[in-house]
Amino acid sequence: MSLDKATVAKVANLARIKVEEKDLEPMAAELNNILGWIEQLGEVNTDDVEPMTSVAQMSLRWRADEVTDGGYAEDVVANGPNHEDGYFAVPKVIE
C-alpha cells in the first residue's frame, strides 16, 4: 500500500488540515516512509487473535443517573474565540 498525492489530499481533508499543493508530494513521501516501516506487522501471525481493546481486565463502570454537572454556561464559553449571547459563533453554515 502506497499513498499518492491524491490520497494525501483526501486524508488531509478528512483530518481538516490544510496542506498546500506543493507540500503534498513531500508529505506523501514522508508518510510512505513510515507506512513502509509499519508493513512489517504483516509478518506477525494474528490468526485467531482478538484485537486488544483495553489494558485493564475490567468491564465498564456505570454512573448513577443524577444531574451533577453543568449550570455554568459562562465557564463553558469563556475560552471561546468568538462567542455571543452565550452561544459559540462560527462562520455561517448553509444547509
Partner: protein
Amino acid sequence: MSDLTRMTIAEARDGLDAGDFSARELTAAHITAMTASKPLNAFITETPDQAVDAATASDARRAKGEAGKLEGIPLAIKDLFCTKGVLTTAASHILDGFTPHYESTVTSNLWDEGAVMLGKANLDEFAMGSSNETSYYGNVVNPWRREGDNRDLVPGGSSGGSASAVASFSAMGATGTDTGGSIRQPASFTGIVGMKPTYGRCSRWGVVAFASSLDQPGPMARSVRDTAIMLEAMAGFDAKDSTSVNMPVPNFEDAMTGDIKGLKIGIPKEYRIDGMSDEISSLWQQGIDWMKDAGAEIVDISLPHTKYALPAYYIIAPAEASSNLARYDGVRYGLRVEGKDLNDMYASTRAEGFGAEVKRRLLIGTYALSAGYYDAYYLKAQKVRARIAEDFKQAYLNVDAILTPTAPSAAFGFGEKGDDPLAMYLNDVFTVPASLAGLPGISVPAGLSKDGLPLGLQLLGRPFDEETVFRVGGVLEEAAAFTATPTDWWRG
C-alpha cells in the same frame, strides 16, 4: 543553610517536619533556581506568585498538624495537565490562551497532599516526540552536556521540561505523562528517576489526551523513593475516568524494603537489538550483576514480538490521536484562523495550530482508520498489541520483574537525528512494549556514557505491582550509587 534545592523530596520532608526550614523558604529557593534555569526553557508558564501563596498556606497547615504527604514540596507540572486558572497549552499553538476552569484529578490529588506548583513544564507538542524539539514554545535543553563539549543536548521527550526542571534542581519533582516512554526516556537522558505506573493507576481526567489507551501520568524525581512518595499522592481511583482502576493505593515507600533476595529478574533476549552500543550493553550487564549480587535470580526470558511493538505503536497512538485531537477546531477554545466557511476555518486553524510532527501523526492516524485500511493497519496493530501483552503475561509466570536498558543511547544533540522521523521513533524501542501492555516501569540512572552523560536502566513489573518495581528499583539505585550531577552552566 545549605542549598535547599539539592535535597531529595524525602530529605525535604524530614527537614520541614523538623522545622529546619519552612515551605516558603523551600519554595523561594526553587523559584530562584527556576528563574536561573531560563536558558533550559523547561517551563512554559512560571507561577511564582501562586507558589509563594501555596507555600504560605502549606506552612499554616503544617503548623496546625495537617501536613499531607507532599506538604510544602515544590513541583513542576507538565503542561499537559489542566490547571484551573493557569494557562494550559500542551506546548501547542492551537491551545493559545486556553485557561481551564477545572483542575486535573492528578494535580488536585497533589495539592490535596500539600504540594506546591512552581509552573507548567514544557513538553513535546501534545506529548508527541522523544526529544522535546516539537514544542511550539521552543526546545527544552538538557542540563547535561558532553564532557568538554558546549553544545546543547536534548532532554528527551515528551516530558522533557519536567525532566530538565528536576535534573537542574529547579523543582524537587515533576509530573510527567508516558504514552510510549515519555517519562522513562527523558528520565534516562537527564539522570533522574521516572516512573510510569500501570495503565489505570493514575486518573487521566484533566490530562490533555494524546493516545487514550496508552497515556498514563507518573512521577519524575531524583530518587526512587521520591517517585514512590509522589505516586502515592498522585494515584487513586477516579470515578470520572472509566479506565481508572478501583484498587487501593499501597504504601509504595514501605515497599522499598531493600531486599530482593530470591526475586526472579527476567532478561529478555529480544532487547539485545542489532547495533546496540557497547556502553548500553555493558551497562545492562552491570545491572544484571547488581541484581545477582543483591540475591536475585536472573532468568533469561523471551518476549518474541518485541520488534513489532514500535510499528504497532505508531499506528495505534496516531490513530487515537487523530480522533482525540479533532476537538481542536477553533470553535470553543484556543486558536482560530478565520476562513471563508466553516471547513476552511477548521483546515486553516489546524494547519496553523499544529506543528509538523503532530500533523504527520494525525495524517497517519486518519489514514490508518480510513475505509479500506482499518483492518490492515489499526485492527492488525491491535492484534499485534494483544500478542505483545500475551508475551509479557507468559514471562511473568516465571519472573517478578524485567530488567532492560531504558533507551538505546544517551542524550543527543539538537538536529542530530536528521530529518527522518523513524530514527527518532527508535528512541522508544525499549519503552514502547510495556506501554502497549499497560505495565508499570521505572527508569533508574545507572551510569555515565563515555561522554559523561547519564544512562538509565528500566525495570518493568506485573500489572498493578508497582511495589515490586519500587522495591527492585531501590536496590538498583543503591547499587548504582549514581551521584553525578550536571554542572550548572546555565546559571551563566
